[in-house]
């Protein structure tokens, strides 16, 4: 799979089904009503995977949508980050939640260290810098 995907590979579920696997390795064809009823398919199997997001990023870049591709690449890093932590970081990024850079830098460290989310970590660090420059670390009632 060295060749980057192009718009010709899209929709992946139709054009390149062999590339698509659920989080537990199930091919799309195995995600059937019968499998759901048998308990072989759970909600876990109906999630997107980091791989799928990276492939969609390749398609997006081929369609001249670099920013969309970058978002998919960032998203691929968040797939396995627990919901609670995602919501915690989101909350921290809202105005006035962090009183200084530290909580954001701490979140970035966790993203990078625990989840290998390098792009997201850099993104949160960038926010910390900008917030400091724009005076967002002030208390809001």
């Amino acid at each position: 799979m060295s060749r980057k995907l192009t718009t010709a590979d899209y929709p992946l579920a139709e054009q390149r089904p062999e590339l698509i696997r659920g989080p537990r390795g199930k091919p799309l064809d195995d995600v059937s009503l019968e499998a759901v009823l048998a308990g072989d398919v759970t909600l876990e199997d109906l999630r997107i995977t980091p791989d799928a997001l990276r492939l969609q990023a390749e398609v997006a870049r081929d369609a001249n949508r670099a920013t969309l591709g970058a978002n998919f690449e960032r998203a691929s890093e968040l797939v396995d980050v627990p919901q609670d932590f995602i919501m915690k970081v989101y909350e921290l990024l809202r105005p006035g939640r962090a009183k200084d850079k530290q909580p954001l830098l701490e979140a970035a460290r966790t993203l990078r260290g625990t989840y290998g989310a390098e792009r997201m970590a850099a993104f949160v660090e960038e926010a910390a810098d900008v917030y400091e420059r724009r005076g967002l670390f002030t208390h809001r009632f």
Binding site: P11, L12, S32, L37, R47, L53, M87, L93, P95, V124
Partner: protein, 754 residues
């Protein structure tokens, strides 16, 4: 009365339009659509591959939006070159069908917000509409509908969702009156939307964290509540930053949920942080920001700010312009046309038309599929009440507005099925046990005023239980199947399964006929006539198929049915070729070829026996003598009248078509210069025909009576009757024969005319 005022102004005061309030243009206070003296001049400076000046602001003074746009939107390798092109030149490229969309999209990667605004401001409304049609990302147009109700009643949500799906909405969106009801709303709409076909994307607009949770439980497939703003202060006041919103956008993608941002003119004005900038410039900032964030699309075009935007000069044109900026930036565009910006139905129709004929990824970003009072987002530009008007507009303009008419029986079946499906799920998951009466009331109801079903408080308990029990879409799929709703179970699973591949995360993705259609595999390739989106013959047929369309068989069948019944009661006696009369009191009544032969009533439903009775009675009441003649050489009213007059001893005659159009004529007058004419047959009564007979007799005696006037109230007679008239009149003309001689007849009515 008695006021020193032209009465027309009082009439105008009563029109719904006057409920709309208009605001004076006032850039200092944010009321400016296209330009403000405080808008910056477009400009860019790049050093070391970095944007160091953006629209007149130096890097050190960048606010958060400037910073984000500078870092993520602008392509520094082409920005200086792109910015150097005169705005007028770029404006012309936008409306030049020979400049491909792809070239303009590439150019936009190097344009600043002020430049984008300056370019589109050069286009007039028609040019904006054309450019929008050329520049929108996906070729095939689509539409989005709201499904909500005033009680948050899940039974009604399911029924209305099924209807919305049948109508063809590609996305449906719900929200609640009571925020706790989010889970019940989501489950009900998800189940309802699985009735009939699979693939309608669904969202439940709620608090951000809650919405993401509902999405993760598998009930929803997209979100569009991620709002962005054009000033830093409005952003912070909205409790977010470009980074927090971008983070949320990424979080949605990581959960395999389609997402678009929301922005629109007027929001900064409403929030009080407009910085004296024009609405268009602020929105251009929002849109550059959205592209920078890497979201696939936007919901813009006023949105909640549409009503205030529409109060200023050019406000409606501005909403079109900001939609154009969105698609030029290659964003999917759910193009507003949702919050009802006017009480005037004319302004509604005018607002929607460019989008209907030009197409849009989602023409409305929410069309109210339900009644106005049931819309928990507030009434939409178009609602359940006006839905058929929209269907007819599609047919009128042969334009694909994304919707398809549905028949009455199918609608009832779908509602029944949807209500039974959600009731079965509630029972199976032990959430609630709706009664048969509740279900029936919902199936038949146009809106929640007519239902006897759940109230918001009861729904809250259901919603809480869904959440407490940790019920997911998989449980719902199993419950549907367990209760015999196999197709719905499969449809729902099909939709949830989309998120595994993420295909519907690409720009402008929707589902048609079981396949993802997006800007990737269905790119808008407009390059002039014959290119871009065109109605297929099959789609044209669907759009044309509105209800209650007249066809020849039905109309003629109705006339024949009446004829069978009526012809039994009257008898014509043919008395040979009509001669010119000599009695100076005579008034000849010339009837048309099909009169009493094939056709037996007027357009107002008067049987011809009564009609002739009234005319003859009128003639005799004024001392005249009536003689009836069938004219066979013409069916035209004027010539019927003139021919009758030429046969008449008094030189005065009456001509009448079966449909009731009648004329008094004089033998010495020009064909179309008659004495009196009843042209509006559908509103002409027996009393009028009696008066016509009387006046004809008086003209015969040399008098000049007061003409009979058939008063109208401005009815659009043609729209109401002309299709039927044309079909019926064809019967008259088919019976004419060139040179056929008039025939004298007498009429015997078995029944006494009224």
């Amino acid at each position: 009365m008695g006021a020193n005022r032209w009465g027309r102004f009082s009439d105008w005061d009563e029109r719904p339009l006057r409920l709309d309030k208009f605001a004076v243009e006032d850039a200092e206070n944010g009321f400016a659509a296209f330009s403000s003296p405080h808008d910056p001049k477009p400009g860019i400076r790049i050093a070391d591959g970095r944007v160091v000046e953006l629209d007149g602001v130096g890097e050190a003074d960048f606010d958060m939006i400037d910073t984000f746009v500078a870092r993520y939107h602008l392509d520094t390798t082409l920005a200086e070159q792109a910015m150097a092109i005169p705005s007028e030149t770029i404006a012309r490229m936008l409306v030049d069908m020979n400049v491909p969309r792809t070239e303009l999209v590439q150019l936009a990667h190097g344009l600043t917000p002020a430049k984008l605004a300056e370019v589109v401001a050069q286009l007039n409304a028609m040019e904006i509409a054309f450019a929008y049609s050329k520049m929108r990302a996906r070729r095939t147009p689509g539409n989005q509908g709201h499904v909500t109700n005033a009680k948050d009643d899940p039974l009604q949500l399911a029924a209305d969702a099924a209807i919305a799906v049948a109508l063809g909405f590609d996305e449906i969106e719900t929200t609640m009156r009571v925020s706790r009801n989010a889970w019940a709303n989501a489950m009900a709409c998800a189940v309802g939307a699985s009735v009939g076909r699979a693939g309608t994307l669904f969202q439940c607009a709620s608090e951000e964290a809650e919405e993401l949770k509902i999405g993760m439980a598998g009930f929803t497939s997209y979100a569009e509540t991620v709002s962005v703003y054009g000033t830093e202060k409005a952003f912070v006041d909205g409790d977010d930053t470009p980074w927090s919103k971008a983070f949320l956008a990424t979080a949605y993608a990581s959960r395999g949920i389609k997402m678009r941002c929301t922005s629109g003119a007027g929001s900064e004005l409403l929030m009080g942080f407009h910085e004296k900038k024009s609405m268009l410039y602020l929105e251009a900032r929002c849109l550059c920001l959205q592209r920078a964030m890497g979201v696939q699309g936007t919901q813009n075009g006023g949105i909640d700010g549409a009503p205030v935007t529409a109060t200023v000069p050019g406000g409606v044109r501005e909403m079109m312009a900001e939609n154009l900026v969105a698609v030029w930036l290659d964003l999917e565009c759910a193009s507003g046309n949702d919050a009802r910006s006017t009480e005037s139905e004319i302004r509604v129709g005018a607002k929607i038309l460019p989008y209907l004929i030009g197409g849009s990824d989602l023409i409305c970003s929410g069309f109210g599929s339900i009644l106005k009072y049931d819309n928990s987002f507030n009434p939409s530009l178009l609602n359940g009440e006006e839905l058929e008007d929209y269907l007819v507009l599609q047919r009128d303009f042969e334009a694909d507005g994304g919707l398809t008419p549905i028949g009455e029986e199918k609608a009832l079946d779908l509602r029944q099925r949807a209500v039974e499906a959600i009731a079965a799920v509630f029972e199976e998951l032990d959430l609630s046990h709706p009664t048969r009466e509740m279900m029936t009331s919902v199936v038949m109801a146009s809106g929640s005023d007519d239902t006897d079903s759940y109230l918001p408080g009861e729904v809250a308990r259901i919603s809480d239980r869904i959440q407490e029990k940790g019920i997911t879409v998989v449980d719902v799929i199993r419950a549907l199947h367990a209760r015999g709703f196999d197709e719905e179970a499969r449809n729902l699973l099909w939709l949830v399964r989309l998120r595994v591949s993420g295909d519907y995360l690409q720009t402008s993705a929707m589902v048609r006929d079981g396949h993802i259609l997006s800007a990737v595999n269905d790119p808008n390739d407009y390059g002039g006539p014959g290119t871009g989106y065109r109605l297929s013959a099959a789609r044209r047929e669907e759009i044309a198929h509105i209800r209650d369309v007249l066809d020849r068989e039905t109309v003629l069948g109705q006339e024949e049915e009446f004829a069978r019944h009526e012809s039994l009661g009257i008898a014509f006696t043919r008395m040979g070729e009509a001669k010119v009369g000599t009695d100076p009191r005579e008034v000849v009544v010339g009837v048309s070829p099909a009169f009493g032969v094939k056709l037996f009533r007027t357009m107002s439903g008067i049987p011809i026996a009564e009609l002739l009775g009234a005319i003859v009675g009128g003639i005799e009441s004024a001392g005249g003598v009536a003689r009836i003649v069938r004219l066979k050489h013409t069916a035209d009213t004027s010539f019927l009248g003139l021919s009758a007059a030429r046969l008449s001893g008094s030189k005065v005659g009456i001509g009448i078509q079966t449909k009731g159009t009648a004329v008094i004529h004089h033998a010495d007058r020009l064909p179309h210069n008659n004495l009196e004419l009843f042209s509006n047959a559908p509103i002409t009564t027996l009393e009028h025909y009696r008066g016509l007979g009387r006046n004809a007799a008086l003209y015969a005696q040399g008098e000049m009576p007061e003409p009979v006037i058939v008063p109208n109230h401005g009815e659009a007679m043609g729209s109401r009757f002309h299709a039927r008239v044309a079909l019926i009149y064809a019967i008259e003309t088919a019976l004419t024969a060139d040179g056929a001689a008039p025939e004298e007849i007498s009429l015997e009515a078995a029944r006494v005319p009224a």
